[in-house]
Symmetry: C2
Subunit: 892 residues, 2 copies
């Protein structure tokens, strides 16, 4: 059988069905499924995602057989509708929409009312008996087609509309007359010709082909690429094209268009939820140009339609066993469903819906867990505004994306990116559009004056987990002057404001925030997740304060305590420097003795917070010069003194001596220098001091009958001999301290696996090491051969140009670095069966990496305290997916 490239739907029957998202995209599969389920859907056909890839790969050409299939399906559609594309008496009008496997709101392009031209409009007028509607449809078509297909900036059309309304002294689009609209069409066509040097195409078949190709091309526009990158969507999926007979929500007051959710997507409450506009086309609702009515109003305005809509969407929720996000149009009192898909929701809503649906026996606990994307929890794990704090609320908007954010006001996306490098910013805009994506990503919070709960700002912010207050109508925002007013308050660029996406409030100044907690439905779901997962979750914590947060978020130990953190403390740095500048072992020893009680008390604090849990302590890792003043600064200071003829002063002499030592320690590539266990090997007295501090702290607690399990971790090991050298020092010190204190301490000595060589020879290292912890930050750096600090120079370019799908410092590179992790685990366990294995790079809190760790048989992951619940959830996802308890089609 030849391959099928086009799938028809209509008349209660579809070629495809709901499970065909890969091929038909989410929208196309939904349309097919709804059609099959007897839901009223305007007929049409879907060109598959495969065609998109063929189109791209063949240099933007459609194969003959695809063209023929499209023509056949168009004929079928014309037959179903009893209208013909381009028929001057009764023209078929169609919409052309993109639809990828995963929803990419606002990212892809859509054309409505296609099929209109200077002749067919007469047929539309005749058939609809509504001249104003027809001209409005035509001018919208030219606007959309001109923008999407012919690449004319939207602003060109908007300026013409604004000028027309100004001239006529009216404010709303609906107040424009037939004459106004006719005039707009003429002006639009002239503008298109002027800008593109081409006439606006009058042949409806050419229009259709051009629109289809534009959709395919839009798959690779920069907005789409950025969105995919931010949302981890692969670039090779392609988009489908949906060509569908038009129905019109803008045929007067008996027509309407709207969007909705079967449950509240912000809170998760079980309430019918949505917005609509009468006498409007779909784009008007989403675009945020007019503020729409709550869907409850529809019950009064069109009670029969409302009942039918609730009935259909209720059936759809049961059918799909999940919240539905739907689009509908009412054309002269007749309801049409245009789309249904799984509704995006906030983390809070996702949790409530998942827990509720288990209670409603709609889904299992495992399914409930899979309904909450681990990364989404991040939204619930950030500070909220202290309810006891005195607030100066200057405006109230929609609760578009929950969570509190505090930052300096900025007014353009570019400014947001720049200023965010210095501190937190709130991006304030009249309304956002897809071109603002990079600024929204950089901002701590987003505030808009216009647009509803489904506006661009709201949808994108929720997706990103960024707090957002939208549709804050009392705001007057001037992007040009970099300020906004709310009542009589003016906020200028750089002024501090706070927003609360959970209440919709906008406040002046820096509000105090408090930490979130894992309680209520969240707590319930996490307890299910804990029951489902195999992987333990630990936190990276250097100080007791971090350990407390880690415990609150459910960490089951500390996977990485970086002892150098403690060396940088203000009161210690001079002693550390004394140690480094020591010119004999004796002098170094003396400085180390001063450090010993400080380190001991650090460990005592950590052990106390983590009582009963293991605490992995990594011995000193960074090169010593990191603790000294910067070489080039000393050089400049000294050169300046010499230029001023002060080169012979005692201060200069001292500086010179310091510089000499700094020069001695200077490294061309500190990342690849004298660091990690290489320090402890050349300066065994440092290892001895640190080991003593660890075991003395443990002994102190042991005497208080508090159990602690120190796991001493040797960093940057590349050969077993390096490890054995350091292990010997640690074990000797443990024996000595236990004898001195007459206590027994349970402890382990293990190593970081953070160099390719360590993974390659893991079998020999595991003969000596009692545990492994993969340091995937350094392992990524050495495996790829680029340093995190320097890769910025090209990694952005790599992401934008498709050389990298994901930043390997964010998501573990499973193809390359992952091989070394797998090798390390397998080889390590080949010589030490019970080898404990964890990961403590930043990947330990990234869901796809956590899933990899589960599959690879690690015992635990360790991540930043705030990401512990995300890791717990990701670990549960991994276990459930592996168990096969939930069908694959239900996992995304």
């Amino acid at each position: 059988m030849a391959k099928k490239f086009v799938y028809f739907f209509g008349n209660g029957k579809a070629d495809g069905h709901g499970d065909m998202k890969d091929l038909l995209g989410g929208k196309g599969a939904g349309l097919a499924e709804m059609t099959n389920a007897g839901v009223p859907v305007p007929p049409g056909f879907t060109i598959t995602t495969e065609v998109c890839n063929i189109y791209s790969e063949s240099g933007r050409k459609l194969p003959k057989e695809v063209e023929k299939e499209i023509d056949d399906n168009l004929a079928k559609l014309e037959k179903a509708m009893g209208k013909k594309l381009g028929d001057v008496k009764d023209p078929l009008l169609v919409s052309v929409r993109s639809g990828a496997k995963f929803s990419m709101p606002g990212m892809m392009d859509t054309v409505l009312n296609l099929g209109l031209n200077d002749e067919t409009i007469q047929g539309l007028i005749a058939k609809s008996g509504n001249e104003r509607f027809a001209w409005d449809a035509y001018r919208r078509f030219i606007q959309m087609f001109g923008n999407v297909v012919m690449d004319v900036d939207k602003a060109n059309f908007e300026h013409i509309i604004d000028a027309t309304k100004d001239k006529r002294g009216i404010k709303l689009d609906v107040d424009m007359t037939v004459a106004d609209l006719k005039d707009l069409v003429a002006q639009f066509k002239k503008k298109v010709k002027a800008l593109t040097k081409k006439d606006f195409p009058q042949d409806p078949h050419a229009q259709l082909r051009m629109a289809e190709e534009a959709v395919f091309q839009s798959w690779n526009n920069p907005r789409a690429i950025t969105y995919r990158r931010l949302n981890d969507i692969p670039g090779n999926l392609g988009t489908a094209v949906n060509v569908q007979a038009m129905v019109f929500g803008n045929m007067g007051d008996t027509s309407a268009t709207g969007v909705g959710f079967t449950r509240n997507p912000a809170t998760g409450d079980k309430e019918f939820y949505g917005e609509y506009l009468t006498n409007a086309q779909g784009e008007d609702v989403v675009a945020g140009i007019r503020t729409p009515h709550p869907i409850a109003d529809l019950a009064k305005e069109m009670p029969k339609v409302y009942k039918q809509l609730r009935d259909i969407t209720g059936r759809l929720e049961k059918h799909y066993r999940d919240v539905q996000d739907f689009e509908f149009t009412v054309q002269e009192n007749v309801l049409f469903m245009l789309q249904t898909r799984t509704g995006k929701r906030t983390a809070q809503a996702a949790i409530k819906i998942a827990v509720d649906m288990v209670k409603e026996k709609l889904i299992s606990k495992e399914e409930a867990i899979l309904r909450v994307e681990p990364n989404q929890l991040d939204q619930l794990l950030h500070p909220i505004i202290d309810p006891k704090a005195k607030k100066t609320v200057i405006a109230q908007g929609l609760k578009a994306s929950p969570g509190a954010a505090v930052g300096k006001a900025v007014f353009t996306a570019d400014d947001a990116v720049t200023e965010a490098q210095k501190g937190k910013v709130i991006l304030v805009r009249t309304e956002t559009n897809p071109d603002d994506i990079h600024g929204m990503d950089a901002a701590a919070g987003i505030l808009t004056a216009r647009g509803g709960m489904t506006s661009h700002a709201a949808v994108v912010a929720r997706g990103m987990g960024t707090p957002c207050v939208a549709g804050c109508e009392s705001l007057r925002v001037s992007e040009k002057d970099r300020k906004f007013t709310a009542g009589n308050v003016t906020v200028k660029e750089g002024d501090w404001i706070s927003i609360d996406g959970s209440t919709g409030e906008v406040m002046l100044g820096q509000m105090p925030t408090i930490e979130p907690a894992v309680t209520g439905d969240f707590g319930t779901l996490m307890s299910w997740a804990d029951a489902a997962r195999r992987l333990k979750v630990r936190a990276n914590a250097d100080i007791p304060r971090d350990a407390i947060v880690a415990r609150q978020f459910g960490a089951e130990g500390i996977g990485l305590c970086r002892t150098e953190h403690m060396f940088f403390a203000e009161d210690r740095l001079p002693i550390v420097q004394e140690m480094i500048l020591a010119d004999s072992v004796g002098a170094r020893q003396k400085a180390l003795e001063k450090l010993l009680p400080m380190q001991r008390s650090d460990f005592e604090g950590l052990f106390t917070e983590m009582k009963g849990y293991p605490v992995t302590i990594r011995l000193l890792d960074p090169p010593l010069h990191e603790f000294l003043p910067k070489r080039e600064e000393l050089m400049v200071e000294l050169a300046t003194m010499k230029a001023l003829k002060k080169g012979a002063t005692p201060k200069a002499k001292k500086l010179e001596k310091l510089l000499a030592r700094v020069e001695e320690l200077h490294e061309f590539n500190p990342m690849l220098g004298h660091r990690g266990c290489r320090l402890g090997i050349v300066y065994p007295e440092i290892t001895r001091m640190q080991a003593r501090a660890i075991f003395e702290a443990a002994a102190l607690l042991a005497k208080k009958k508090i159990k602690v399990i120190p796991e001493v971790m040797i960093p940057l090991v590349g050969t077993v001999k390096e490890f054995s050298n350091q292990k010997k020092l640690v074990v000797e010190m443990a024996d000595a301290v236990m004898a001195e204190n007459k206590v027994k301490i349970e402890y382990m000595v293990g190593t970081m696996i953070e160099l390719p060589r360590a993974a390659l020879v893991a079998d020999t290292i595991a003969k000596e090491a009692e545990f492994f912890s993969f340091g995937t930050n350094d392992l990524t750096q050495t495996t790829f051969g680029f340093s995190r600090d320097d890769a910025g120079k090209f990694i952005t370019y790599y992401m934008e140009n498709g050389i990298f799908e994901k930043d390997p410092f964010v998501a573990l590179d499973q193809e390359g670095v992952g091989q070394l992790v797998k090798m390390g685990v397998e080889r390590g366990r080949s010589t030490r069966e019970k080898l404990k294995v964890g990961i403590c790079g930043e990947h330990g809190g990234e869901p796809s990496s956590v899933e990899f760790c589960h599959r690879t048989g690690l015992d635990y992951v360790s991540c930043s305290p705030y990401r512990v619940p995300i890791a717990r959830m990701a670990a549960a996802h991994a276990a459930i997916k592996q168990s096969g308890k939930v069908k694959a089609s239900q996992t995304k």
Copy 2:
């Protein structure tokens, strides 16, 4: 059967035999073999190398069963000699010598005359009837035992001897009287007591035990460790201890001691060769204190002994099928053989001997090849002094190690190390000793005033391949004053001198040198090697001059041409900087256009020299900031100008602008930064320019009907997408240039494999890449996670403390990095069966690495032009060893 720890030899029969070098060491195996062959050898026993390891591992203790075996063998020895250790009437005296598997001349310690004390000396006097001899033996024993076993510095004894001779007004040891010697013994014992707080041991059995243990301990003394490191001898072999009945060469004029070779070890000539001293003990010959007589003189002095010696050594050469290095002692006209072993020889001698022995049908061609250590050839591959040059010869010494060297005179080993960092040095010493090893390693040449062909300086220099003139008796060297005189010429520290180790000449000034050639026996042997090897050998060459040398040395192509070499040329650097500082693609393009003709002419030159052979050209690799002035220097310059209130001058402004760009390009870890293909990806115009230069040069030659095979190599690839990105640019440019010039050029596009990730995903990369070249320098750096520039801070420590056996930048780390190479080859060929694979790191010229490359199935190695013959020879060794044509025992 219980394990045997001690092997007896004597009375024509030995427990062991010549193949037991692992267990008995070279010396012990030789003694056993000689004994079995009926050669007159003083009886004795060998304590095995295993005991050495047991001794070290058990904290310097000997197991009971070993002690018992030693006692049993001592009893056997006493019986064979009819004397007893410690017998006051007729004492048995023994020598205690170390003997490892591989000879380590001067590195290990020896004690002679053991068994003497204040009482047994009377027995020795009585039995020998020679009081002077007996007291001389006793004082020697205290000297050696005091130094080797009790750790008293030799100089202490020498001072006492010198004082005695001064007092008596005599010059030679032999002029000392019995009274003098008795007095020496008394003074020596006093000195030992004063320095060690212990009496000199009088119990001969205790002496023996102490000496045995001292030999074991000497295995891990710093000299031995250094020697092993320099000679690639593993540290876990251990040394055997040989306890052997003493025979005396110092019993008057009918006694003698000597060493010799069955062929000339410097030239390879088939002549009986050696040196001896009458009335002396063995150490006197080797130590270089008295200049010995050529062995030919023995024919006149002791014709019978001489004939017997020639007969025995001739038999030994035939027996071992190789040149023998032997030690003998004549005690009152009776010949004893003390040792025989394979003779070390210069490269030149090794080649001549190997070729001669094939002609003599003693060995096969394959064996002949294996007789020449590839690294040894290095000696023949260095410049020699131009024979046409006018020489000012100021002294003539022994031709101790061939080759010419030119350098500044230095007089201590430490100075040699320091000064060698600035330029070439000649180390000038009265005589060298094992403490000078590090200086000898650093020096370009070695010149000594005393010592023969088997003196420490000569033996070590030959081993290192360093030119050496030894025993240059007219020299008066003052290490203290840092100068030497030769006749009326004085040479001070820092003065230029030249030495020729092939002629023994010492010359004033910097003599012109010329390149060596592969001709004569060398050429013959290399032709055999070429026939035996599978691996091709290419050279790393950036400029035509290097390519010429490479071809002369038999390179079969260029494996690595580093294009940045060309960028650093004086006339180009300003243009390269112009390109880097360009603030637009247009400006960069303009600079690149200026570079194009220069690069093209470079490649034209290379292609012309390498006509018919492949030339692998690596695209630009280093980060761009390497071509700009150093950041800290600019900062200092600017700070100085500002301090002098010149911060507003145009020069300062210009500097500031330059610094800003340098800051922009600054990297924390340049090795892991924006370099390699990452440059060509972000700046495709650079790749395009380089590709155009390559193909335009190839096209020019193609028009002249000269065939060239450019292999364009993309550096630092970690993912296949990086490679494809660059390959596309190269292929497009090749197509364009071929079309413009209407020629067809055969070419390939391949990649360096120099990152762990590249090796891990080699299967996907090989789908696109037509060849791989392992860049093992960078691969070593990233696999171990240390940079070559910075590792110096700990790598020496690692080597000295046994954490590394070998420097992984010198010999490929087969255990770790080697795994990635193997993986890269296997995975690469899994998707492209005919993938061409080579190596172009510096390991490409290191024999053990070349052997690894052969075993791993690489197609070629590429190394520095001067190492090409070494690589060819190593490749032949690898192939012959793998073929199994030569017995393993004959391969080392």
